[in-house]
């Protein structure tokens, strides 16, 4: 980031931080300062508000210094430019950024709490790796679309509450399994006729098969950590383990 652009960003982040600091100060001023709490009469120096107030004032003061420094550095013309609305940037770099953030948010907020951890991980790795490992970014858009559709489906299913109904616990897992098959099909078609793409897809498939298996076994049976959501695959693994033990 060049210096002038950085100062423009500083101006905005300084203002944003100042706003957050004010919110923090308002919040902290509502804590008991000299009023009684839990039957104890407070004094200012033991108040739970003391430290947040100091920190809030510190952030406010420093962010204002940042704003002034940035404004001085920009000058009048630069300041006018900084206050105008920035143009939307759809460069490939920004598209990749959006894909990464969407994939991570979808995985953490939608998939991990509701879908069998093995399946959620396999799907995440498949779309994430194919999106970035296939040459020339050919995998980016189809994989992102497939993933976002499946994330939407998961959110919708959770909203209905049907997953709690006995007998329907595994429906979402089955849907995600079908989603994985769909993502596989999409990538297989995208890489058709290009030996390099096909080779890279094979690398991806290896990783997708090995990583969730190793992680689930390591955490579930090695470290005895129950996985965030144990569904169709983990329960099958559990059944297989008991069958092997006799």
């Amino acid at each position: 980031m060049d210096r002038e652009r950085l100062r423009r960003t500083d101006l905005w982040t300084g203002l944003g931080l100042a706003a957050l600091a004010v919110a923090m100060l308002i919040g902290a001023s509502r804590f008991p300062i000299s009023a009684s709490y839990g039957g104890v009469q407070n004094v200012w120096y033991v108040s739970p508000a003391l430290f947040p107030l100091i920190v809030g004032f510190g952030i406010l003061a420093l962010s204002m210094v940042l704003v002034v420094t940035a404004a001085r550095s920009l000058g009048r013309d630069g300041l006018r430019q900084a206050l105008s609305l920035p143009k939307a940037d759809f460069a490939p770099r920004q598209r990749r950024f959006a894909m990464i953030v969407a994939a991570i948010i979808g995985f953490v907020f939608a998939m991990v709490p509701a879908v069998d951890f093995f399946l959620a991980t396999a799907l995440f790795l498949l779309v994430f790796m194919a999106a970035f490992h296939l040459p020339d970014g050919t995998g980016l858009l189809p994989n992102l679309t497939t993933y976002l559709v499946l994330v939407g489906l998961t959110i919708a299913w959770r909203a209905t509450g049907l997953g709690e109904v006995p007998g329907l616990e595994y429906v979402l897992d089955v849907l995600i399994l079908i989603g994985i098959a769909a993502a596989l099909w999409v990538n297989w078609r995208t890489t058709a006729g290009d030996p390099l793409s096909r080779k890279r897809l094979r690398h991806v498939l290896w990783m997708v098969a090995v990583t969730p298996t190793v992680l689930c076994i390591l955490f579930r049976y090695g470290l005895l950590v129950p996985l965030p959501h144990e569904g169709i695959v983990i329960n099958l693994m559990e059944a297989a383990r008991y069958a092997m033990r006799g």
């Binding site: 980031m1 950085l6 960003t9 500083d10 931080l17 919040g27 804590f31 008991p32 709490y37 839990g38 407070n42 004094v43 200012w44 120096y45 033991v46 108040s47 739970p48 003391l50 430290f51 947040p52 100091i54 920190v55 809030g56 510190g58 952030i59 420093l62 210094v65 940042l66 420094t69 770099r93 990749r96 950024f97 990464i100 953030v101 991570i104 948010i105 953490v108 907020f109 991990v112 709490p113 951890f117 995440f124 790795l125 994430f128 790796m129 970035f132 490992h133 690398h203 991806v204 990783m207 990583t211 992680l215 390591l218 955490f219 470290l223 005895l224 950590v225 129950p226 996985l227 965030p228």
Partner: protein, 528 residues
């Protein structure tokens, strides 16, 4: 404990650690994994220690420490592989190594360069370890005099100095990052009155922010985004045949080694800054004191040896304030502090009473970790070179999954994941806007200590702040904090520069005129 007693405990620890074959396997495994982490683009020592912490929950403390220190030492050393073989440092710590290592590899001496790096790193870690065992008890003893006044100021000083030294842009941004960390640390019920602060009626926030998801979010998510967004990939590494320890060259450069080790330990002991700065300072010192500075930048072994000795000596240095004061000396040490907290170890002045042999035991593990690194480096380097060919698009998603399961595994709480993502995204934007992340994380860790001790101190003096200025150590810390801030005022800086210019007459030397034309590519990781 006297010196002989300490040596007895030290060697006793080594023997008892090595007596368990599981420890040996974990030591060599973690060291190798660390070398891979350091060598791979986008993976850092901090991230390695963070992810490995999640696998050590169920292990006994000493085994967990073997794994974590093995990873730490290995990763700091591993960054030199891509620096030497591809001219792209794997970690910021190895950025200076590329200056001399790559020209050596271009001349077909890649194996020699790696041999020198390996031995220098071993010696650096060993000297750092000696300093740790000698200095740490003295500091711990001094720190026993500390009361709430000093603890509050110490936490404040730690955040201030790390903000000052880690800021790549305006110093004020480092301080703001530290204050944001302190602000985050106020979330949850306060420890003295149990009053809920900024919890927004969410019971999950009552206990405050867990350290591990904050650390993993702050260090892993920005890294994952950066590496994949920029499609980071290394070039084809230079071929390596045999790796030799090069004892003659090492002996010839003994003075550089000793000086670099001292620089590394000194820089490591300063909170928040770490191996990267140690590497560059040591490289600069080697060049400035060399009789043939014109050879620097063209494959000069002393430059490479100096850099690698310093960045590994930094590890021992970073552990000194961590163990004795509870203030981490470098970004990976921040993560190590989190790991120790998880294992129920409270580091700080009381460590010599709570766990009398702990510092000696850590020193013994550090020696074993550096020995494992040396053996791995000498024997397995050709295998590590293969790792450099792994595409980032394949291992970064795995790192993302490991971050998720690692954050969840502590406390088996989905809420930790909900916390990790926004913190990670905020850390990403902050790093993009040139705010350093280390002060933020140090702020989150030291915040409760600062809050509690400030109020305790004022409680003792019934609201009177004068003891902060009348107690000797406290006054020294106040003066240090004020000097740190005043030194950043532009007028003071200009005055200081003028004074220095007057005091030191510049002497144009050949070294100044022979600034190397080729500079290594910027490190793939901004922090270690």
């Amino acid at each position: 404990m006297d010196v002989f007693g300490q040596f007895g405990t030290f060697f006793g620890s080594i023997v008892s650690l090595l007596a368990d074959p599981r420890n040996v396997v974990i030591l060599f495994g973690a060291s190798f994994l660390g070398i891979g982490f350091g060598a791979l683009p986008g993976l850092t020592a901090t991230l390695g220690v963070a992810l490995l912490t999640t696998l050590t929950y169920g292990l006994p403390l000493e085994t967990a420490l073997i794994a974590l220190l093995g990873m730490y030492v290995g990763a700091v050393y591993g960054g030199s592989y891509p620096a030497i073989l591809v001219n792209i440092p794997g970690t910021a710590a190895s950025a200076a190594s590329a200056m001399e290592g790559y020209p050596l590899a271009q001349r077909g001496e890649g194996g020699r360069a790696l041999g020198l790096t390996t031995t220098a790193s071993f010696i650096g870690t060993a000297i750092g370890m000696v300093c740790l065992v000698m200095v740490a008890p003295l500091i711990a003893e001094l720190a026993l005099q500390f009361t709430s006044y000093e603890f509050f100021l110490l936490a404040f000083f730690g955040i201030l100095i790390s903000g000052t030294l880690t800021s790549g842009d305006l110093v004020i941004k480092g301080w703001i990052a530290g204050l944001i960390g302190l602000a985050l640390s106020t979330i949850g019920r306060d420890r003295l009155q149990f009053y809920p602060r900024f919890t927004f009626d969410q019971p999950a926030l009552d206990t405050g922010l867990e350290v591990v998801p904050v650390l993993i979010g702050a260090f892993a998510i920005p890294q994952i985004i950066r590496v994949l967004r920029d499609e980071l990939q290394l070039g084809e590494p230079k071929k390596v045949r045999r790796i030799l320890p090069e004892i003659r060259t090492i002996l010839y450069n003994l003075k550089h080694i000793v000086r670099s080790a001292m620089i590394g330990v000194g820089i490591g002991a300063v909170p928040g800054i770490g191996e990267d700065i140690a590497g560059w300072v040591s490289y600069g010192a080697a060049k400035n004191t060399s009789k043939q500075p014109e050879k620097f930048g063209k494959g000069e072994p002393s430059g490479l040896v100096s850099t690698e000795t310093a960045n590994n000596a930094c590890i021992g240095g970073a552990l000194i304030p961590l163990l004795t004061l509870g203030i981490p000396g470098s970004p990976p040490a921040v993560m190590l502090l989190g790991a120790l907290m998880i294992h129920g170890v409270t580091v700080g002045p009381m460590i010599t009473f709570d766990r009398p042999g702990f510092i000696t035991e850590v020193t013994a593990i550090l020696l074993l970790a550096s020995a494992a690194m040396w053996v791995n480096g000498m024997l397995l380097a050709p295998q590590v070179v293969k790792v450099l060919r792994a595409p980032a698009a394949l291992f970064m998603p795995v790192v993302a999954v490991l971050s998720v399961i690692g954050s969840y595994a502590l406390g088996l709480n989905i809420f930790n994941l909900y916390l990790m993502v926004p913190i990670g995204l905020a850390a990403y934007f902050l790093t993009e806007w040139k705010y350093p992340i280390s002060p933020l994380v140090i702020g989150v860790i030291l915040g409760p200590m600062a809050d509690e001790n400030l109020r305790r101190a004022l409680m003792v003096s019934r609201g009177d702040p004068t003891p902060f200025f009348t107690r000797p150590v406290s006054l020294l810390l106040v003066i240090a904090c004020v000097l740190l801030v005043v030194a950043q005022i532009p007028a003071v800086r200009r005055g200081r520069q003028r004074l220095f210019a007057r005091l030191t007459r510049p002497r144009p030397t050949e070294a100044d005129q022979s600034t190397p034309e080729r500079r290594p590519a910027p490190p793939v990781n901004e922090g270690d």
